[in-house]
């Protein structure tokens, strides 16, 4: 027998064995999703990135979550029976939690049967997030907010073991189903933290049983189960058989009425979810085009062929693929390190902003898909005035040159070369070169400094940069999350990497963020937003939009920045899938 024949036989037999091993139930509805980043594991207190948060939210749940069909974002009870009762002084939040919610079955519980969730479990979960020994990446959401919690953390950090039995004044279980938070100061943004994966409820006995391996043994109350996380590139979830009676929402904002076909149905809607971890653009794109993945973003290099004038290409339309364009709550910006006295010169900052060709930046790096940012607060968040036009936003070379001369540097004379720090990726490098050319037009010399991402971050945190480029994605839909980027006490190593510290702004910011959501607060946010914009504390670039493609057989999907638990609402039409796949 020829060698070639033997080789074909071997490969053929292997594929046959594999083919036989793969048996699928034709009626089973399976979602095929993609994560473009590694999943760090399944411990809620470590869920500091979007992708880990999304995986954790398939298994764990919190007191609150965002309504799936409401825009703008709206919080609603999840494991809480109702929204909290807030005391008149705005300091006490009392929650009644749902009765009869069970933790998923696991060997950590007696008889392997998950027990009922109690208010005390939330107290434990909050303390666990605060425990310095757990090295949580999410402590910032509660830092300084709950009465006595910082003191408890600091005291226990010095002890060999953390005393979870010690009471904390600000977080108490009043009875089996009543949970109370007492805040250290008025903080209306606190409520958003209760919808974030960091504060999801975990069971003490499961943490105790698995110890450091808890991160691989997720046991929550959520719609799906995963017996063991093996750090692979494919995560397969199955329906949680003990999931409570939870139903698809019956009400929706006018924009999302089209997603009410499954209203009132018991959740979750699909039996199985397979998450493929694919970091590279090409394989992710090819797998979607082959029908193996249900949702994808459009890679930069494929954008021009897939989408023209915000419409899908003929080829993709024929496959039944649907395009969804959603504004993201984010902003790209170029920041000045205000510790450098040179940047105290407001005219210089304004001149640089006027020189920068923002529309060209949008065209070159975002295929014209983003909105020019006039200020830091993105559209869709209270505090953004859609009519506002920043008078210093470029390109306006005449104005830029005039402002530069008024700043004391006519045509850049006398101005030292400025260092522009960026991460060392190809796109960042191209962005840096574009910025350099823009500034050259008015005589401002820029030296590009590239560093690997960890080093770049370290430089910003150590105030060792002059100018640097970054993007900020909202943690929650409140303007405070954007304005705090220029709040003095948040200076590096905090989130205020520009180290801007203006006592007047700080005071106004503190006043605004302590107010409950109201037209008065929105007016204050708008004022602060315009103040930062015209101070040109940074060169505000773009608010990006998400271009998402969905397969024609996928139902109920829309893009959401904060609904991490969205998969429970998704559905798959198997008949339509079989039909559409013939076109692939």
């Amino acid at each position: 027998m020829k060698m070639r024949n033997i080789l074909f036989m071997v490969i053929g037999s292997l594929l046959l064995v594999v083919g036989c091993a793969k048996k699928h139930d034709a009626n089973e509805r399976v979602l095929n999703l993609v994560s473009p980043a590694e999943i760090k594991g399944f411990d809620p207190i470590q869920a500091d990135d979007l992708y880990s948060g999304r995986e954790i939210s398939k298994i764990y749940e919190g007191l609150l979550h965002y309504h799936w069909l409401k825009v703008p974002y709206e919080l609603e009870p999840n494991l809480a029976e109702s929204m909290p009762e807030i005391s008149k002084d705005g300091l006490t939040y009392t929650f009644k939690i749902l009765k009869g919610v069970k933790f998923q079955d696991d060997a950590a519980f007696p008889g392997g049967k998950g027990r009922e969730v109690e208010a005390a479990d939330f107290v434990y979960s909050i303390k666990r997030l605060a425990d310095a020994k757990t090295v949580s990446t999410g402590w910032w959401v509660l830092d300084g907010k709950i009465k006595g919690l910082n003191e408890w953390r600091d005291k226990n950090a010095k002890l060999p073991t953390t005393n979870y039995d010690e009471e904390v004044e600000g977080v108490k279980a009043l009875d089996k189903y009543t949970l109370q938070f007492r805040l250290a100061k008025i903080n209306p943004q606190f409520i958003y933290s209760l919808a974030m994966p960091f504060t999801y409820v975990v069971a003490k006995e499961v943490v105790a049983k698995y110890g450091k391996e808890f991160i691989n043994h997720p046991v929550g109350t959520g719609p799906y189960i995963l017996p063991l996380f093996d750090q692979g590139k494919q995560i397969t979830y199955t329906k949680n058989p003990t999931f409570r009676e939870k139903f698809y929402p019956k009400d929706a904002s006018p924009e999302l009425q089209r997603l009410l076909a499954d209203a009132g149905k018991k959740l979750p809607l699909v039996e199985k979810i397979v998450v493929h971890i694919i970091k590279e653009d090409q394989p992710r794109w090819l797998k979607f085009n082959k029908g193996e993945v249900d949702i994808t973003s459009v890679p930069k290099d494929n954008f021009a062929t897939a989408i023209k004038n915000n419409k899908l290409s003929e080829e993709l339309l024929n496959k039944g693929i649907v395009l969804e364009i959603t504004p993201g709550l984010d902003v790209t910006y170029t920041a000045f390190n205000m510790e450098n006295k040179l940047f105290h010169n407001k005219k210089l900052r304004q001149a640089m902003y006027a020189a920068f060709d923002n529309p060209k930046d949008n065209q070159l790096f975002y295929n014209n898909t983003a909105f020019p940012a006039q200020s830091i607060i993105p559209p869709g968040v209270a505090g953004n005035d859609p009519k506002y036009i920043n008078p210093f936003k470029g390109p306006n070379l005449e104005l830029a040159k005039k402002l530069l001369a008024e700043a004391g540097y006519p045509n850049g004379k006398g101005l030292p070369e400025l260092k522009y720090d960026i991460p060392d990726s190809t796109t960042s490098r191209q962005g840096g070169e574009f910025f350099q050319k823009q500034m050259e037009q008015i005589g401002v010399k820029i030296k590009i400094v590239t560093s690997p991402w960890p080093e770049f971050q370290a430089k910003v945190k150590k105030k060792a940069v002059e100018i640097y480029g970054l993007a900020w994605m909202a943690d929650y839909p409140d303007a405070e999350n954007f304005l705090q980027l220029f709040y003095g006490p948040n200076k590096s190593p905090g989130a205020n990497g520009s180290n801007y510290d203006n006592p007047e702004f700080n005071k106004q910011f503190e006043d605004a963020v302590s107010m409950q959501d109201s037209p008065a607060r929105t007016a204050k946010y708008e004022k602060l937003n315009k103040f930062l914009a015209e101070e040109v504390v940074a060169l505000f670039g773009l608010h990006r939009q998400a271009y998402t493609l969905e397969q024609g057989w996928l139902k109920n999907y829309h893009n959401s920045d904060f609904s991490h638990d969205y998969v429970q609402y998704l559905n798959v039409d198997n008949a339509k899938k079989a039909e559409l796949l013939k076109k692939f």
Binding site: I11, L14, L15, V17, V18, A21, K22, E38, K40, G41, D43, Q46, D48, A132, K133, V135, T137, W139, W140, D143, A157, K212, E213, I215, N216, D230, Q231, G232, K233, Q234, H276, I277, I278, K279, E280, Q282, P283, L286, K287, N289, K290, E292, P452, W453, P454, E455, Q457, A458, K461, W472, P493, G494, A495
Partner: protein
């Protein structure tokens, strides 16, 4: 020298080398690498949190204590937990070694068989059309960037023809097989050019030796000459080249694992570097160093087996 004494002596030599490796790791981490706290605590880090994290990670201890910890982990293989993923590092290595080997082992066997066979063939037909053709083909294989080969292979064989999986991985045999065929084929193409050129040179060195001329003049069959005499006597450099690849098999293919979504050690190393995950970088450096030293000993012992003239000293 007795083979056992030789191996024992070489194993003892490994100790000072390993201490040196630990010192280099320690110096690089403490002097060159950025503070991991900035990565681990993210965008909202405060100075108090950074100080607490330094304490929890043991970074506020004396340099001597930190160095001793590295040495201890090198000799006990207890590498602790990853700072970035909070996973047990030994478990991470165990989980990643299988997928890495599922690509690198077949790739290692196939690419070496292909390269040696082709080298024998072109050496046999040296100067003829097939030799010249293989020369052009090898240089083309060496010149085309591996990224281009992977991108084309995924698009053409995976997407257009649909013969293989585009990317992904399922654990266990035979589930993983469909996912590794394409990367193995593409990387065989990527590596065959350089290997074939190397083995051809080695084989040709032998082909022109006096003893080969003698064998020919005695009327020995050319095939017998190539396999029994030329190949056997070329084995020292071939073995060196082959064995030295073995310890690196476990490290996987850095680029390919990311592109084909293989959950191997190559992808793990890249993530660790991107996240300043020092314990993982430390563990992989120590394991690579030990693997390299062990296989150097194996290479030396193997020499004596293929060439009786060699003696261990």
């Amino acid at each position: 020298m007795n083979i056992y004494s030789y191996v024992l002596r070489r194993l003892l030599y490994m100790i000072p080398v390993l201490l040196g490796v630990c010192l280099i790791i320690f110096v690089l981490f403490n002097l060159v690498a950025p503070d991991p706290a900035f990565i681990l605590l993210g965008k909202h880090a405060t100075q108090i949190q950074i100080d607490q994290l330094h304490h929890e990670l043991g970074l506020d201890r004396s340099f001597v204590a930190q160095y001793i910890d590295i040495v201890k982990s090198a000799f006990t293989f207890d590498f602790g937990y990853s700072w970035a993923t909070k996973q047990n590092i030994l478990e991470m290595i165990k989980n990643g070694a299988g997928p890495s080997l599922s690509i690198t082992a077949p790739l290692f066997v196939i690419s070496n068989i292909v390269a040696i066979s082709l080298a024998l063939l072109v050496a046999f037909y040296r100067g003829k059309f097939i030799d010249k053709f293989m020369l052009v083909f090898s240089i083309a294989g060496m010149s085309i960037p591996s990224l281009a080969v992977v991108l084309f292979g995924q698009w053409f064989f995976g997407y257009k023809l649909g013969w293989f999986e585009i990317s992904g991985y399922e654990r266990g045999f035979p589930e993983f097989v469909p996912y590794v065929i394409l990367p193995v084929i593409l990387y065989t193409f990527i590596s065959f050019g350089g290997d074939t050129r190397f083995y051809r040179t080695v084989i040709l060195d032998e082909v022109y030796q006096d003893y080969i001329r003698t064998a020919r003049s005695k009327g020995l069959n050319e095939v017998v000459i190539m396999f029994k005499h030329v190949l056997k006597n070329s084995m020292i450099p071939i073995l060196t080249n082959i064995i030295i690849q073995i310890p690196f098999l476990i490290l996987g293919l850095l680029f390919a694992e990311s592109f084909f979504s293989i959950p191997g050690l190559g992808a793990m190393i890249i993530n660790a570097i991107n996240n300043s995950d020092f314990p993982v970088i430390k563990a992989m450096t120590i394991i690579s160093a030990i693997g390299f030293m062990v296989f150097q000993i194996i290479t030396d012992v193997a020499y004596t087996m293929v060439d009786p003239r060699m003696r261990l000293k």
